[in-house]
Symmetry: C2
Subunit: 356 residues, 2 copies
């Protein structure tokens, strides 16, 4: 259990330390490179993706580039388009299609963020005011739609019906996952299985599609497609589970996240699902009042964190993420050894190490 | 000018009569069939489109079919998918692709309606409570995204990259038009040209795409594609201009519309643009207070209608719609004579006759 913890004046967690909860596994210790390997291997392509993104957010309607740039230039890691470029390279692809598909993937992701902020009524995104706070919900909804339309236009330009199928399917699955999450919000009977289903749909589906289109445009077969999909899917789930743990502390502030957003929105994430399983009557009453009924008073977030820690569920969530990370790494067996494969292994470790 | 007009207790227009403002042109008088011809010629295909639509709104996430059915079964005319089926038939197409494309077009339209209601904060849609009033803005945004994703999946299944290109382009243009409209809201300096640009994007682009995919899947060339696009584009503009006029009276209640929505939202539609052109100082002050500053008091809607009538701008808007209707009819020259072509001529008259 953590040794020290200090609360800010508004009861905000200002320093938390999931860091000591779970020692990094051997694989993670062996890889110090983090995401740098991936970044440097796709750097040339990413530059082209970035110019392409800029050129496709242009519009005579000035509100569009304003809103889009706010989010696109706000320092996201561009993990999803990097996956497309990485798996295209790993599959021996040498054409131009990967650039457009990577840009499409980033547009789909940005559209989702814009719509999510409206749905969650979030004030902040990546440490900046959310677009909806600056331009209103209307602009966030419509610019999201514009980016989605542009994404499909770019995919069509690549001319691969198989890639289009994978990405169109992801678009539908992501939205389905978001609606599912909305329906499950505040529902304390959500099971671990149901929760992982939501995560797979709303987060992992785009990671999986981003990776799978690499072997597709390279003309590889089902074995490599499936391996890429599994890598993306598992990495996406691991990524989201770490996010869930971060919402109750950890390095959240460094990452520009608000601690406690999920709690205030009544989201039943894995740390909560696991804590509910062993909750005594007092704890159940606490979760019912805060998450189900939305009656949150000063000190409740700290109490929630205390309960999660007493049941070790933040640690268990990180451990679960680690297991998905291991599946992601195992899936890479279908591809040839080399610098790119090493970089993709490091990327898994990087995603999990965000918790520290 | 109209002879009689009565106001409801809340100052709501309960009986208005744009009907006497402009006598139907000879072409409209000659065609008594309205939309019935089109409906009966595509009836068999539309039945398949409807089952297809139902099958594709299914989801384990029960909120999705609930929200989607609310809108899809709420008695829209299905004009856009009928255009796809009609132009596919008119182009001699005999395959199954038209069914899926027509369903895609209806999904795109439904997604737009769901998002529009959130953006406009509308309470009503087609005479029923808007989905957002029943399930919240969140569900409207996300179910709209789901339908858009499903639309692209269905398009991909048809396997025509050219049709995909046209529809993906329409998706981006529609959203761009909506953002444009948002930026131009409350802006009294909006020109007629700028306004028609918005209409072309937000409304006519989908009509144009819906029609154009017909000759595309039939394998016809640029001449027929362009003709179908022009028909859809012109019909769409005419349709929207009639809607704009209806917002200030006419047969609005019969059509399940609220009179005065555009006025209350500060939308600068064509009747307003034309009235501003010849506004005296008092009138300009009135429009500035109501549309630009959003300060609307009892009796303002009736005063607005009075001003529009004194400048004949509702009549001028209907006349403008009629001119677009004539271009739509002229574009049909590229296609062979027959029952379908007659039905498409009648459809133009029907769209304009909604004003009466």
């Amino acid at each position: 259990m953590p040794a020290s913890q200090s609360m800010g004046p508004q009861g905000r967690v200002t320093e938390v330390d999931i860091v000591v909860m779970a020692a990094p596994c051997a694989k993670e210790q062996a890889r110090a490179g983090g995401i740098d390997g991936l970044v440097s291997l796709v750097a040339g392509d990413m530059e082209r993706v970035n110019s392409f993104i800029l050129s496709r957010t242009g519009s005579d309607v000035t509100l569009i580039p304003e809103v889009a740039s706010h989010l696109i230039s706000s320092g996201g890691k561009r993990l999803r388009p990097m996956l497309t470029l990485a798996f295209a390279q790993l599959s021996g692809y040498e054409g131009d299609g990967g650039i457009r598909l990577a840009a499409s993937v980033e547009f789909m992701h940005t559209a989702t963020l814009l719509h999510d902020d409206v749905v969650d009524e979030s004030d902040m995104r990546r440490g900046k005011l959310a677009a909806r706070m600056l331009w209103g919900n209307e602009a966030s909804v419509l610019v999201g739609d514009f980016l989605l339309g542009q994404a499909f236009k770019m995919m069509v330009e690549v001319g691969s019906l198989a890639a289009l199928e994978v990405l169109a399917n992801a678009a539908a699955v992501i939205a389905e996952g978001e609606v599912w999450q909305l329906s499950a919000a505040k529902d304390l009977s959500t099971t671990e299985e149901a929760y992982l289903g939501v995560v797979q749909a709303k987060t992992a589906a785009l990671f999986a599609a981003a990776a799978e289109v690499g072997p597709i445009i390279a003309g590889l077969g089902e074995r490599e497609r499936k391996a890429a999909r599994t890598y993306g899917d598992s990495l996406g789930i691991a990524f989201q589970l770490i996010d869930d743990a971060l919402d109750y502390g950890g390095a959240a502030e460094l990452l520009g996240k608000n601690v406690g957003d999920d709690f205030r929105e009544g989201k039943i994430t894995l740390p909560i699902v696991l804590a509910l399983r062993n909750a005594d009557a007092d704890e159940r009453a606490f979760w019912t009042r805060t998450l189900e009924q939305g009656e949150i008073v000063d000190g409740d977030l700290e109490k929630a964190i205390g309960i999660l820690r007493s049941h070790n569920t933040l640690e268990a969530t990180v451990q679960q993420a680690r297991r998905y990370g291991d599946s992601a790494i195992a899936a890479l067996d279908a591809f040839p050894d080399g610098a790119m494969k090493d970089a993709l292994v490091d990327t898994v470790a990087f995603c999990i190490a965000r918790a520290y």
